[in-house]
Amino acid sequence: MRGLLWAVTQRDLLLARRRRVEALLPLGFFVVAAGLFPIAIGPEPNTLKLIGPGVAWVCALLAAMLSVTQMFASDHHDGSLEQMLLAAERLEWLVLGKVLAHWLSSGVPLVLASPLIGVLFDMQAQAIATLALSLLLGTPVLSLLGAVGAALTLGLRSGASLVFLLVLPLTVPTLIFGTGAVGAVDAGLSPQAHLSLQGALLLLTLLGAPLAAAAALRISLD
């Protein structure tokens, strides 16, 4: 069964490489959207420092949602999803494979680009490092929750916007702890509590989301 996970992940990464522009779109959105804030609000360093972590997190969240809505759509359209459903005794492995590929191709670039946003908002080195770390823990949660939303709305005409409405409220806890970690560093405290809670959220989602997404896929394809 683990072979299935790797086969799906490898294929999705190969597909992402073939459609590089589409794969890099979330990253572009992240950088451009976050970059608009300093321009709109003005170059006051204290204000920027204050809103920096929040802006970076919200933009990362929206960027992750942008690509996750289509996670199963193309496989559904060309019949690959049916074949995977037939092959997989445990559909959860398939979901995990697709989530892993999604995170590697669109979540990890966000983490890597986040220091750039930190510099843009005049954040300190330690705060930037915490921001990247909180995104490293948070972006897999976004991919996992997004997979549930994408599976639930599979085949619906306005699926993409529905995913936003369904999934964004669920991402609030990870958003709170993510920005809270950076806030703690700014206040001279240890971010460890926030990061631990984020790790716990990740584990919880890792256990629950594949089950939910697999169940939703089965219903959608019936």
Partner: protein, 201 residues
């Protein structure tokens, strides 16, 4: 062996068929017949386990055949992969080792050797269909049951003959084949199964 008793299928508010009994033995080739909209595809999806029957029991006895192969209307080949990559992925899903070598051989058998490295997007409808049907030539050791929905669609005459040979060889190995086709099929020993008696108005 497949044993289905009292199957019924409802799509929306319409009941397509009811009380359908069907038995498929290893080594048999069955041509499923019925008019458009009579529920051929729905029945095949139920038998493949992709959708649930509204009523009835479905039993796959023995299990020696392993996981079945279902080829539906869509070819399940990714547009952005090359033909050999797309087929090798399906082979991997099937649990076959050495997927790339098998995919190479299978495409050669279906007359697609020169198209192997082309992206699926650039192929014609008939070539994609042949690519999808190359799954049947992957040299599988197991006599898996085959469920083929309109496999002859978009094929030229030579490819139709190749497909018929593959189906006959599979049946000779003790594999079970269920297929639909609008054209008359030229298969030795194929039994017809008409959906008409179980149709609901």
């Amino acid at each position: 062996m497949l044993n289905a008793r009292g199957l019924a299928c409802r799509r929306g508010r319409r009941t397509l068929f009811r009380g359908l009994d069907m038995q498929l033995r290893p080594g048999s080739v069955t041509w499923l017949r019925g008019t458009n909209g009579s529920g051929k595809t729905s029945l095949m999806r139920i038998l493949a386990g992709l959708s649930a029957a509204t009523e009835g029991v479905l039993q796959w006895c023995d299990g020696a055949g392993g996981q079945l192969i279902y080829i539906g209307h869509s070819n399940a080949l990714k547009d952005d992969l090359t033909l050999v990559e797309a087929l090798a992925f399906l082979a991997r899903l099937q649990g076959l080792d050495d997927a790339d070598a098998r995919a190479h051989r299978a495409l050669g058998l279906l007359g697609l050797a020169s198209r192997r490295e082309q992206p699926v997007r650039t192929l014609s409808q008939g070539q994609r269909r042949r690519g999808a049907l190359a799954r049947l030539a992957l040299d599988d050791e197991l006599p898996r049951p085959w469920i083929l929905d309109e496999p002859y669609d978009a094929l030229d005459r030579d490819s139709m003959a190749t497909l018929s040979r593959l189906i006959e060889a599979h049946a000779a190995r003790g594999g079970m084949v269920l297929l639909t086709s609008h054209q008359s099929v030229d298969l030795a020993g194929a039994a017809e199964f008409d959906l008409e008696p179980w149709r609901c108005a």
